[in-house]
């Protein structure tokens, strides 16, 4: 007998981005009542050491705390794991390897969403942390598909992206949203026709300032939410079929 579907969410990176993800899951679920909604177990414990600082060599390693969360989610009965943080996926292989429940990968979900929407429209701007960019998390997958891309310069990361990202974590949404939008706009000025908001603080910030860049943006948080909803709808159907077989 299969286990009851339950999506384990390794959250807290950051906390508001996790809430944004959960909201997108609920809002994207076709539901006629509470019971139709996606079952979620959320480890939203933001005391995981800072990922950006660890990658810059100025902070504690986050992997042990992330592995602890993965262990708790599996112990709690998770049948899939979702991590609404792009940078955390730099440790994705280690996390997936330690988890009995398979990982629904945010970058795979986002790239699939890019492919669905992208024609021959010029380069794709990647709005992401220095760590995500340095590891080539999105660039490698885009290059493999022959899709051109642009990224922010070091100066833009220092002046716009990084302080914008931290401002969101401090609940300073006007300031953070405005900085993140400026970082994204630099990419548009250099020719980007589509943006990937490849850090989960970015869609939160751009939505808060009602950015006119949202219509040309792909939101990996939404793509991950959509993938989770699809898993639940399929697993639930499978479950119902299994019950019919048992009782039929």
């Amino acid at each position: 007998m299969s286990r009851t579907p339950l999506i384990g969410v390794l959250g807290g990176m950051g906390p508001l981005a996790t809430v944004d993800f959960l909201h997108k899951v609920v809002a994207s679920t076709p539901a006629t009542c509470d019971q139709d909604h996606v079952p979620l177990l959320v480890w939203n414990v933001p005391q995981i050491p800072d990922r950006q600082k660890a990658l810059a060599g100025t902070g504690e390693a986050p992997l042990p705390a992330m592995l602890h969360g993965i262990e708790r989610l599996n112990a709690g009965g998770a049948t899939r794991i979702a991590i609404p943080c792009n940078t955390a996926h730099l440790w994705g292989d280690a996390l997936a390897g330690a988890s009995a429940a398979p990982l629904i990968h945010i970058v795979d979900a986002a790239i699939a969403a890019v492919e669905r929407r992208h024609g021959q429209e010029g380069p794709i701007g990647i709005v992401a942390t220095r760590g995500t960019l340095a590891a080539g998390l999105y660039q490698e997958r885009l290059a493999a598909r022959g899709l051109p891309f642009l990224i922010n310069t070091d100066d833009e990361l220092d002046a716009l992206f990084t302080p914008g990202c931290y401002a969101i974590k401090q609940n300073r949404l006007d300031h953070g949203g405005s900085l993140l939008e400026s970082a994204a706009r630099q990419l548009v000025r250099r020719g980007a026709r589509t943006l990937i908001l490849a850090c989960t603080e970015v869609p939160v910030g751009l939505a808060h300032v009602r950015s006119d860049l949202l219509p040309i943006s792909v939101d990996p948080t939404q793509a991950l939410a959509d993938a989770c909803v699809r898993y639940w709808l399929e697993a639930r159907t499978g479950e119902a079929a299994g019950r019919e077989e048992l009782t039929g």
Copy 2:
């Protein structure tokens, strides 16, 4: 040595109300970085049988599923339990009795917020499910403090409140928000000067329609979030003091 503070959230009643609660916790936390935010373990499994139907005698009992969630949250290390659903607090004693982690009670938090804001301003309108009203969850505590109150009639519950509440659970926020606001407005027409939005779907609906009733409303979801933030700030200070003793 005390356990690491962790707030266990028994959610899913409904799912959007849980997200609203989590958002209020994050937005109400003084934070300079991710790590300052409240650690939360969220059992957001909305397959708990419908509370309103159970109380009306037309549905399965929700207590076993709620107790299962409470057990999972305790097993996951929760040091306090928060339940962002007023109606679920009709089973509050059974849930608290089965939980090693004490319950932060939404009604107590809300009544404290009412007392902080309420002068001699006329009756308080209680916007709540039929089950919450029938059990006197809010009325008893208000009466004990000598505070007058008003509630919706059976007809208003049938025509406005109940369909409004279920519409929110179906992601029909315009429709649900408008119905819930109409239910609240009936109380204002009969003399209510303050409202308690005593069902967690109501603040979601009223915020969505940008209701002009919000400034005269007390939001139990916000009161519960504030109580959770206070617990975390105090527990964290105690933890830091404990560490200093150990290392001092």
